[in-house]
Every structure is written in structure tokens, then in C-alpha cells.
């Protein structure tokens, strides 16, 4: 489901395992987001945010695989059956 949007961590505020927060930028707007579910995330990381909580760190290497896969299947198709 659900609307979750990638944002860049600009700073991390103090806080414990439930309240750790940070300032996350979404294309020009900054919001305080709870980072307690992504303890490994730090400044500069992109996180996926839903309803005020970061749920995952975005893996840049995996992100580019969508386009590598596209090139792969086109190369195969060009070679013919």
C-alpha cells in the first residue's frame, strides 16, 4: 500500500530506540521524521517514509538494477529467439 516517499536525511537528532528523529528532505521540503525503525541510517542516506516514519534505507545499487534489467531484456530480444 500506501504512500511512501523517498527522502534524504539532512540531520539526525538525538533520541532513543523509540524517539530517534531526523530532518528529512523531500524534493525541497523538510519534515521531522521518526527514524527509530532505521537505526543504521545516517546523514546523506535516502529513506522511504510513510506516515511520518522511515521504514527502509534505499539501496542505491539495487535501484539501478531496474534499468540494467531493461537493457538486458532488450539485448536478448535484439538477438532474436
Amino acid at each position: 500500500m500506501c504512500l511512501a516517499v523517498p527522502g534524504r536525511i539532512e540531520s539526525v537528532d538525538s533520541g532513543d530506540e523509540l524517539t530517534r528523529q531526523g530532518r528529512v528532505a523531500f524534493g525541497g521540503i523538510v519534515k521531522q521524521i521518526n527514524l527509530a525503525c532505521v537505526p543504521e541510517a545516517g546523514v546523506g542516506d535516502y529513506v522511504l517514509v510513510h506516515a511520518g516514519v522511515a521504514l527502509a534505507v534505499i539501496d542505491e545499487a539495487e535501484a539501478s538494477r531496474t534499468f540494467a534489467y531493461l537493457r538486458e531484456i532488450e539485448a536478448v530480444d535484439e538477438e532474436g529467439p
Partner: protein, 351 residues
């Protein structure tokens, strides 16, 4: 006949034969239209062409006068980039400008709630004065009433405005022709996001400011340069999409718009992404669309861009013969879809 009602959401589920006024009647959408058709026009309109546009153009002693009125019930009273005072001035100034008129004089009617701090009233009035000066208009008459505590939202403002029509030909949806180019004066969505940003729980760190501004100067610059404006509409509640749909319906034309051509600033874009809002439907208070003949488009655009409020102006679409489709948006992937009127205000979503 529209009113800039509060930004509280409106209920889209009316009883079929509504016996009472509901919030949705103030929404500017279908229910407002029904009120106008069933109650106001039968009482006041002398001809079918009357009471369809935001302002009225009248012959008075040989001069063409534009006359409009608007009420403001916005909450919160103060928001980044404006307040109920500047909103009231610019809203009415813009309605007059959209008739092709130079706005001149405003009245200021206030309904104050008992218990309102006088300091707050001072702030609102100072803002009205400031906005009037910036728009080149004067508040020349007014009225004040006070209602009991609990019977008003602090301050309700009504402004009426008069201006001198300077456009040589009528400026109205009926003047729109197939082939006309649609120009948009700047990026969209600032006001609606600014209002939401001060609502509890939707705060952003960086304040997005409302684009609340007087557009008369921008419009007059084009008129003075001899550009023939077929139709003008300032974008308010319901955003760009709603304004386009209303003109398509009133002018009985289709309008084709390119989504890629509509500018959205980065902060507004980010806010819309996380709140799940479509920027095309988010409120504005300092943007307008202009319909001009294709041979005039380039010149009109150049004039707009020279004006501070039109720096981001762009051509966003064209008018086509009416088929009943209305507004067709060419999306980012190249596919097209019909834009519909919203039922009620857009609400933030998580799904």
C-alpha cells in the same frame, strides 16, 4: 458569486433534496453551482449571460465598470505569505482584473466575534492597507458588525470592488475560440500547501509561502500592449484543474493541457508527494490563466514574463472544439486522461 470559504474540508455526500445549507454548498463545486442555478439566478439574472462569471461588467453613465464581491472565512487567519486581510484585498482585485478591468476602489465589511483581541484586528487592518497599497487600490468605505462569542470564526471579511474596464472586447469564457492558447502565469500549488502547513500535524520545517498577490498589473500590462485577452481566470480553490474545467464548461470547448508544461516548485512538489495531493487541484491565490489567439501567444507570454508575478509564465495548452470531453490532460508518459471536477477538497492521504 464564488466565495473564498474556509479551508476546512467539505462533505461530498449531500442528501438528494437538501433542505438545509451544508458546508459543501460553499465549496465552489457542484453544490454551489446548484444554489446559483436554483436560487440566485432565478431571483437576479436578467439574462442567461449574467451571474456566470466572478465579476459583473456594467454600463454606468457611459463607462464600463467591473463590479465584484467576495467573502472570506479562511482558517487559520494568518498563514505564511498572507492573512485574511491580504487575501480579501487580492482576491477581489484579481476578480476585477479577470474582467479586464483596472481595480480602483474596495469596500471592507467586517463581522467580528465578541472577544477578538483588538491587536488582531489591528494586524488584519494593517495588512489590508498594505495589500491595497501594493495593488494600487483604496478602501473607501466599510462596515463593522460584532456577533456574540461563539457565533463567528474570529473575523469574517467581505470586500466589494469596482474597477474601470480597459479591455476593448469582452473577457469571458464565451469569447474563447478553438485554437486559442492557454497561458499560465507561474507555478502552482503554493497557497494550498501554505494553508495546510499551518494545520495541526501537517507542519513542515521550511515554511512554504502562499502566492497570494494582486494580478492586476500583470493583466493590465498585456491589455496596454494591445494583446486581446479572450478569457482570464485567477486560480483559487480547486486549483488549475478546476479553473480549466469551469471555463471548458462555460465556453463549451475542450481544452488540451500538457502536464509537463505545468510548473510546480520543488517544495510544493515534495509536500504534495508526501501528502498524496495532486498539484493540479491545489489552491492558488496569485496565479491566473489567460486565453489568447495563437498569433498573440508569444507576445503575451513575453509581456507576462517581464512582470515580477509572471516570471514563470508558460503556455500549457490549447483550446479545441467542444466535444463534451472537457479538459484532457496529456500525462508525463504521453497518455491522456480526462480531468474531472473534484467532489470536495482534496484531503491528505496515506494510501
Amino acid at each position: 458569486m464564488s466565495d473564498r470559504a474556509s479551508f476546512a474540508p467539505v462533505c461530498p455526500m449531500p442528501a438528494d433534496a437538501a433542505e438545509e445549507i451544508q458546508l459543501a454548498h460553499g465549496g465552489g463545486g457542484g453544490m454551489t453551482q446548484r444554489l446559483i442555478e436554483e436560487i440566485f439566478r432565478p431571483a437576479f439574472a436578467a439574462s442567461p449571460g449574467e451571474l456566470v462569471h466572478d465579476g459583473a461588467v456594467l454600463e454606468l453613465g457611459g463607462a464600463r465598470i467591473a463590479f465584484t464581491t467576495d467573502s472570506y472565512v479562511v482558517r487559520p487567519l494568518f498563514f505564511p505569505g498572507g492573512d485574511i486581510g491580504s487575501l480579501a484585498v487580492n482576491g477581489t482585485v484579481n476578480d476585477l482584473a479577470m474582467c479586464g478591468a483596472q481595480p480602483l476602489y474596495l469596500s471592507l465589511g467586517l463581522v467580528l466575534e465578541e472577544g477578538l483581541p483588538i491587536e488582531l484586528l489591528r494586524r488584519v487592518v494593517a495588512s489590508v492597507r498594505c495589500a491595497a497599497d501594493a495593488a494600487g487600490v483604496r478602501v473607501v468605505t466599510g462596515d463593522t458588525k460584532v456577533v456574540e462569542r461563539g457565533k463567528g470564526d474570529g473575523v469574517y471579511v467581505n470586500t466589494a470592488g469596482v474597477g474601470l474596464v480597459v479591455a476593448r472586447r469582452p473577457v469571458a469564457p464565451a469569447e474563447v475560440r478553438p485554437g486559442d492558447v492557454v497561458l499560465l502565469s507561474g507555478d502552482v500549488g503554493r497557497h494550498g500547501v501554505a494553508i495546510m502547513s499551518v494545520r495541526e500535524g501537517l507542519q513542515f520545517e521550511s515554511a512554504i509561502e502562499s502566492d497570494c498577490a494582486p494580478l492586476a498589473g500583470l493583466v493590465l500590462a498585456m491589455i496596454e500592449a494591445g494583446v486581446e485577452l479572450h478569457c482570464l481566470r485567477d486560480l483559487t480553490r480547486g486549483g488549475l484543474a478546476t479553473a480549466l474545467i469551469e471555463i471548458a464548461e462555460a465556453g463549451k470547448v475542450d481544452i488540451r493541457v500538457s502536464e509537463a508544461a505545468v510548473a510546480v516548485s520543488d517544495p510544493v512538489r515534495g509536500a504534495c508527494e508526501i501528502l498524496g495531493l495532486d498539484p493540479l487541484y491545489v489552491a492558488n491565490e496569485g496565479r491566473c490563466i489567460a486565453f489568447v489567439a495563437p498569433e498573440q501567444a508569444e507576445r503575451a507570454l513575453a509581456i507576462m514574463r517581464r512582470h515580477p508575478l509572471g516570471a514563470g509564465a508558460a503556455a500549457i495548452g490549447t483550446v479545441e472544439p467542444g466535444t463534451g470531453m472537457g479538459v484532457v490532460l496529456r500525462g508525463l508518459l504521453g497518455g491522456s486522461r480526462v480531468l474531472d471536477m473534484l467532489s470536495g477538497e482534496q484531503l491528505p492521504r496515506i494510501c
